[in-house]
Amino acid sequence: MATRWGVLSRPGLVSRGHLGAALAIATATAAILWVLFKAFGAGFGRAGNVPQFLVVGLNGLSLAGLYFITASGFTLIFGLMRVVNMAHGSLYLLGAYIGLSLTDDGVPWFFAVLLAGLFVGAVGLVMQQLFLRWNQGQELRQALITIGLSIILADQMVAHFDPTPRTIAPPEGLTGSVGLGVYGLDYPAFRIFVIGAALLIGLLLWLLIRRTRFGMVIRAGVDNSAMAAALGVNVQLVFAAAFFLGSALAGLAGVFGGTVLSVAPGQDDKFLLSSLIVVIIGGMGSLAGAALGALALGLVEQLASVYLPEDYTNYSILLTFILLIIVLAVRPTGIFGRPE
């Protein structure tokens, strides 16, 4: 058999991995050089392209902030429980709709974001307790279950909320634009707020995981949940708490996203996709990976829409996929991913 199908046996000394990595790095370098040339090639003056570069860069950063807040919950849940929550996008959209309904009823934005986070966290918790808790370790089955739940959630949201695309009004004081102080540029205050919020959430999560006993227990549970339990840790309780937190982050992100972008059916799929890509790039279960992946995705999306040659801007979506390919060619488990 092996001889007859010798074509399919390993080629031996030729390593495809290194070739792929070299090609990937070359492509990435070329892309960065191209962007730099387009941005700074015409000089640093007001007439050049630097102001546009700054605005596009900020757009990329604020988008990356949104992606990070969403994906951090996704990666937290995966990292601890190996659950790929395919309903994460639905939880995001649910958060957005709740935020929209609350602000419509006159609830201040900051309360709305908090309530949406708590409510969506509770929904995620119920989901985990009812459907996922007793399937632990059956990763694929859990993924399929969450896909089923996302179908139900999406349909129920169409039923209960107005499907016309809407935007949540930003909180008072962040409605207008602020001057950036260079080139006389103005930029929406809320988008800058999103960047700050993403940094803050990232910092808080990092402190939680690195500096608290809850974080130690989470890490111990990720490493070896049976041993953690044998040391008196109620692992089920920790799992439930982490699922609540991860879902709440999705709900929180929904309100941020609904304010910057829009609240509409289909946003659930969009943010599930972004979360998937972010964690595949960054490495499943890694917070730093989520940050890096979000940064890469947000910047590539925004820069591509401006810096691709004119006839090709429609193809910018393909760049996302190419980004994915490049990362996977170099590191199959993502930048900060542990080997499977």
């Binding site: 399937n135 059956q138 990763e139 179908i151 999406a154 039923a159 193809y315 996977l328 499977e340």
Partner: protein
């Protein structure tokens, strides 16, 4: 006891023969609408689902990219036929070729990952493909491509449902037999071995990724045939036919039928299309019910309807044995007959 067993065996065989007879003579028994709209859709949806069932069952790869590959074939066919005025047969051939090529690329990337990672990467590809086709004007953007005409014997499918039905049936039978045949070839056996013991196969000198990639490309070709047939039937293709809802729908079809038996693909398609055609109007929330049914199937009978039928069949066939079995049970869920998926 023995009598029940014989009655069951004769009865189940009779049902099977009757079912095959009905399948062979759908245009005779049913209305033109049923043949042209419902039965034809069952067949091409079944083909697309079969590509997933083949991958999941024989390759251990639960892919969400099949709808996108189906769409690649449909889009290439439609684009070449409508805009380039290429012959319908040639454009269909190139369409299937395009899907296969895309399958090689996606398979090449995703084959390094397994289980849920594979699921995620293929889903990412599916969504990117959807966004690509809905944005790029070469492929008609949001409206898609209209005015596709099927090749001569089929022409306008609404006028010739019988011919279209038998074309689809022929393709389905060929795909079914082909996949069954491949399962017994050295390549098919190696693919199954790679599914169960990738590390061991690797140390035996088999290129695991290459096997998985080729399996993926084959599945892409099958999905592509389904895509071409679908495009011929609807005489158009639009991004709506390959969005995330459709991607999930195909997974639902395959899981309802059962991911481990090839027949399940068409059975799942039959159940789904019948429900979709005749009960969607009954409840305003059809998707919710489908979602609930899907969750129930994954929870209760992970190997779907065919798995359920096989289990019932086994109960009736075997003499009743009441030996107490130790706790622990057979295999994990989603892994009937020792097939590992993760």
């Amino acid at each position: 006891m023995i009598r029940y067993r014989r009655a069951w065996m004769i009865g189940s065989r009779a049902v099977l023969v009757l079912a095959l007879l009905i399948i062979a003579l759908v245009p005779v028994f049913f209305s033109t609408y049923f043949t042209g709209a419902v039965a034809v859709k069952v067949l091409w949806l079944g083909l697309a689902a079969a590509s997933l069932t083949f991958l999941a069952g024989q390759g251990g790869m639960v892919s969400l990219a099949q709808t996108a590959l189906f769409g690649v074939a449909g889009y290439v066919t439609a684009r070449l036929m409508v805009y380039e005025s290429m012959s319908p047969w040639l454009s269909a051939l190139l369409g299937v070729g395009g899907a296969t090529a895309a399958g090689l690329v996606v398979g090449g990337i995703a084959s390094g990952s397994r289980g849920i990672y594979f699921l995620m990467i293929t889903l990412a590809f599916a969504v990117v493909a959807y966004l690509f086709f809905s944005q790029v004007s070469t492929f008609g953007g949001h409206t898609g491509i209209n005015g596709v005409i099927a090749p001569p014997p089929l022409d306008n499918p609404t006028l010739k449902p019988t011919v279209v039905y038998y074309t689809c049936l022929g393709c389905s039978v060929i795909a079914y037999l082909l996949v069954r045949y491949i399962g017994g070839t050295p390549f098919g056996l190696a693919l199954q071995a790679v599914r169960d013991e990738p590390e061991r196969m690797n140390s035996l000198g088999f290129d695991v990724r290459l096997h998985r990639t080729l399996g993926f490309a084959l599945a892409a070709a099958i999905a592509g045939v389904g895509g071409v047939l679908a495009t011929w039937q609807t005489q158009s293709i639009s991004p709506g036919t390959i969005d995330v809802t459709r991607t999930i729908e195909l997974l639902v079809v395959a899981v309802i039928g059962g991911l481990y038996r090839l027949e399940g693909a068409w059975l799942g398609a039959l159940v789904y299309v019948l429900l979709d055609t005749y009960t969607r109007g009954l409840s305003g929330r059809f998707e919710t019910w489908i979602g609930i049914a899907f969750v129930l199937i994954v929870l209760v009978s992970p190997d779907g309807l065919t798995g359920l039928l096989a289990r019932i069949d086994r109960v009736f066939r075997r003499p009743v044995r009441r030996r107490r079995r130790r706790r622990g049970g057979a295999g994990g869920p989603l892994t009937p007959s020792g097939r590992s998926v993760a």
